[in-house]
Amino acid sequence: MTVAHSRVNEPLPQGVGRLSRRWFLVVGLATAGTAIGVVGWLVEHEQGMVATGMRDVGTMGGATWGLYISMVVYFVGVSFAGITVAALIRLFNLEHLKGVARMAELLTVVALLLGALAIVVDLGQPLRGLVNLFRYARPQSPFFGTFSLVVSGYLFSSLVYLYLTSRPDAARLAAKPSKLQPLYRVWAAGYEDTPDQRARDRRVTFWLALAILPLLIVAHSSLGFVFGLQVGRPGWFGTLQAPAFVVLAGVSGIGHLIVLAALVRRVLHEEHRIGMEVFTWLGRFLMLLLFVYLYFVVVEIFTAIYQPTVNEQRIGDALLTGEYAPVFWGSVAALALPAVGLAWMAVTRRWRIGWMVAFGALVNLGAIGKRFLIVAPSQTHGQLLPYPVGTYTPSLVEYAVVLGLFSLGALLIAGFMKLFPIVEMEEAAP
């Protein structure tokens, strides 16, 4: 493995710095999608939030939180994957998973950025939001957790983690002459591969992982509290919200990671470092989370149908048999089928990457569906005063902005892949 190390003028690994036609195609599509999102947001900004499908709760019969808030919750959920996997690798010495560590951390950073952007597009006064949150944010509001822990703490710690674990690779790349050499020199920031430095890095990543894991539970729970503490909204008020948020976050995050890992493995021919054992481990982890979440769903349904109050029943009916039934049962199926499929693969010990990618995508659709069902029905059907039942259908502008967010995420990941190896390089012999 040291062969490549001493040679000069050798191309950078993993296609970094070389732009292929396929890459341009992906980036072109992602740029177009992002542009659509920007246009959507400009329309919304120009006309006001009337351009969305959201309306006031009450006499106007709408939902005032809609697709955007669902996406905030969803994206923050996706961010679960990276730092958990990275932390578990360090804490439990899962060396064979190192191939996906960096892409997982990247996924976390990108997902958190998208989550923060989704908050910004949801605000009626985004500029005021950026100033006033730093100026007046109140610890009593459940949003304080989202703002201080999720967006600042979680994002910054993930960035630190991503950066520190990437420095050795940057140092290796800086040793090779290339167009990107100056970048790697800055990136490596004087990294020297000494035993002392290695020991320190091991220590610091261990402690970071240890510090980030509780932060992760608190951060995802704080998002659950945004909903679970509201006594005036039947369907939201409950103890299960916070734990269910953590678990569903894991589901969408690990699902995303499986898809990304399979893509990278295929595109960069990294079959060696992203081996089957990575997928079996991720698959088992996802399966476990899915079964825990499905258990929560069963508990939720049972509580909703056994002896519900009048208001809880209205929401339960809307979910199980009414207006939201297609989304509800679709989401449950999108979570249950992969659970069964993964269990089958675990029992027979025959793991198929193709199926796992399909499952990874499916659980994410299910997660988006479930997030939407947490947000919308309690507003349209959860009125405690005798207002008529409301409706909420996202408008084209909202869909455009959401498309833009996903495209921006793809763009950031594709861009990163051309700047830096997305799979940790193999260590040179000491």
Partner: protein, 248 residues
Amino acid sequence: MTRYAMAVDLNRCQGCRACVEACKIENNTPNAVFWMHVFRLEEGEFPNTKMTFLPRPCQHCNNAPCVKVCPVGARYKREDGLVLTDFDRCIGCRYCEVACPYGVNFFNWRNPEEAWGEYQIPFDDPDLASVTGGAVPPYKNPDHDVRHGPEQRLTSGSAHFKGVMEKCTFCVHRVEQGMLPACVDTCPVQALRFGDVEDEDSPISRFLRDKESFQLLEELGTDPSVVYVGGNPPSSHAREIERPLTGV
């Protein structure tokens, strides 16, 4: 100390909605925005039906969920009991609206200058102009540009900024000048009363004395400042028989 409260006499309310109209005019609220709303409710099956009316201003809760959840302290409760919104500070996250069990919050979905919708009257017609003196609606009450209370915050009136939350203010601009809220002043049958409940001799205290009363959704512990007498809370089977304008 002063603590303002409103009493609603359901025996007197006849569902005329003059209060709704007064509120819209006084506060210049946009289309489909009803800071004061009167439920016209029907219960039972024909022919055994019963019709009731239930005026619903903001409840100005003493333990207000909207105040608790506001991430920037734009929604706040004054010493005198009014729950108000600082229009200069609100960031438009709409958390107060989802936290409120009463559905009293209204967001500025549109630009203020477009918010009132289309007027179907040719105000530039010379004949009409001779009557209106050239004034073209929406007429904006200048009191709404004044900062009120000891906190000196911009809290009264409607449609100041796009993307900001608003709701009933108990007509803070009138209360500050010693007047009654517009809905209370307009009610032709005195179904609405307003005043200081800490003052034992105030008209509202005397009115409420020895009367059975209830608050809306008491069980939630929000402790509203709006007290209802002479009726019952709406049953869960009550249907609203008329729906107000919903299109912004």
